[in-house]
Amino acid sequence: MKSLVEAAKALAEGFATTFNHLFRRPVTEEYPEVHRVLPARTRARIVLTLDPDGEERCVACYLCSAVCPVSCISMQSAEKEDGRRYASWFRINFARCIYCGLCEEACPTSAIQLTPYFETCERDILRLVYEKEDLLVQHQGKDKEYNFYKVAGVVTRLAGKGEHAREEKPVNVKTNLP
């Protein structure tokens, strides 16, 4: 009998709760009319950023494509005349992308970054395949500072051997002096 009362009470409580909800203001945000401001770290459309000198950050190291769980990133690395390694082509298939952000985490040069912009729908699935031109943006994204070639220690137009941050002058192999 006691349990019956309890059951009835529980039921009544439940019905009362839902009934009360009837008079609350819906929390729905009516998306196409109302655009919510998403946090900067929201994971959506991927971009390739430039370094503070205005050069492409991506060195086509293949780490993002290696870590991508759906294999939606492909690229071909190549070498510029000044010694910079870059992507001769870089392609993200957004029809496959799951916006997990692992590529951003894997990127050693802060080149690939996810942005909050998510309205990328297309009727033709091929238009969801983004090439490097589509991905490149003219800013540094979330990481304003990092410039890989200033610290990498490889020779580019930016710096020669021994001219990077925290480097000694190159060893002169033909001298006896210490």
């Binding site: 439940g14 019905f15 839902t18 909800h21 819906p26 729905t28």
Partner: protein, 328 residues
């Protein structure tokens, strides 16, 4: 002969009005359910098609009509096509015995506001609802899909079980009204609705009715998280629409039965009788939606325990008590 024709025309007119209203209401019940449920969950519900989403039923209908109608490989074609029709048809036929007003006099001719006043009205309803099981069971079996089959079997088992409770819960009403005729039952509630004297029967009937219509918390036949969509997994297009229509007509019919059997039917002050019936139906339906928004789905064993070990004994007890009261 003229009278005969007049009667025929009158019947057709009544049929057309009732059927049209039934279908229209079924379509808008979908909207009502979605809207009401949404508000229960602090959402807006459909609000894209027309103002407040009022054109949503039309959009849904157009969508269902224009969608490709697929029949799975290995399905039993004949039964597959028959099943949704059985569900929709039995649900709609049940409304034939529901009176929606007192007799009217048109040109000196008495017009009963019921499609047909069968002296076995209630039994007719049960007969049809027991046939409705076939739609679910055969649809599930004919789809040649394990989800559908399981859904169909569950549906059949559930409907058989609760039909018993449903029938038994109404025996006291019949005892009180001394008639199977629904019109007579409404007549018998002239002074007070039966809910006042038969609250237990009312509760049993409500629960069983919800189970019969396979609605949450009794929607095991279509339990999405385990059976995809249960017996109608493989259905698409207008065949799926028929299942859908059947469900919502069923809701109305059950609402109407509750109204007629317990709430005094079309009786009520000020407003015309059909409006009162309509209001009562809507109230019952809203209660069902409210329940859907409140209660979680039962487990299969809980479902069976509730039906066989609680509702049926309770209904039998109610019969005995009512019998005793009526006798003495």
């Amino acid at each position: 002969m003229i009278m005969w024709f007049a009667g025929l025309i009158l019947l057709i007119v009544k049929l057309a009005v009732v059927l049209g209203f039934l279908l229209f209401l079924a379509a808008y019940l979908v909207w009502v359910e979605r809207k009401f449920l949404a508000r229960l969950q602090i959402r807006y519900g459909p609000n894209r098609a027309g103002r407040y989403g009022l054109l949503q039923p039309i959009a849904d209908t157009v969508k269902m009509l224009t969608k490709e109608d697929t029949i799975p490989d290995g399905a039993d074609k004949g039964l597959f096509c028959l099943a949704p029709a059985v569900v929709a048809m039995t649900a709609m036929l049940m409304f034939a015995v529901v009176p929606f007003g007192p007799e009217l006099s048109v040109f000196g001719r008495k017009v009963p506001l019921v499609i047909t006043d069968l002296n076995i009205g209630l039994l007719f309803v049960f007969a049809l609802s027991s046939l409705g099981v076939y739609g679910v069971a055969l649809g599930g079996w004919a789809s040649n899909s394990k989800y559908s089959l399981l859904g169909g079997i569950r549906g059949a088992a559930q409907m058989i079980s609760y039909e018993l409770a449903l029938g038994l819960s109404l025996v006291p009403i019949v005892m009180l009204a001394r008639s199977f005729s629904v019109v007579d039952i409404v007549q018998a509630q002239e002074r007070y609705p039966f809910i006042l004297v038969q609250p237990v029967a009312f509760v049993i009937f409500m629960i069983s009715a919800m189970a019969e219509s396979k609605r949450i918390p009794f929607d095991l036949p279509e339990a999405e998280n385990e059976l995809v969509a249960g017996f109608h997994t493989e259905y698409s297009g207008i065949r799926f629409g028929l299942f859908f229509l059947g469900e919502y007509v069923h809701m109305q019919v059950l609402g109407a039965l509750v109204a007629v059997l317990f709430l005094g039917g079309w009786r009520g002050p000020f407003l015309p009788p059909p409006v009162w019936l309509f209001i009562k139906i809507i109230l019952v339906v809203l209660f069902m939606i409210w329940t859907r928004g409140t209660l979680p789905r039962l487990r299969y064993d809980q479902l069976m325990t509730l039906g066989w070990k609680m509702l049926i004994p309770l209904a039998l007890l109610n019969i005995v008590v009512t019998g005793a009261v009526v006798l003495f």
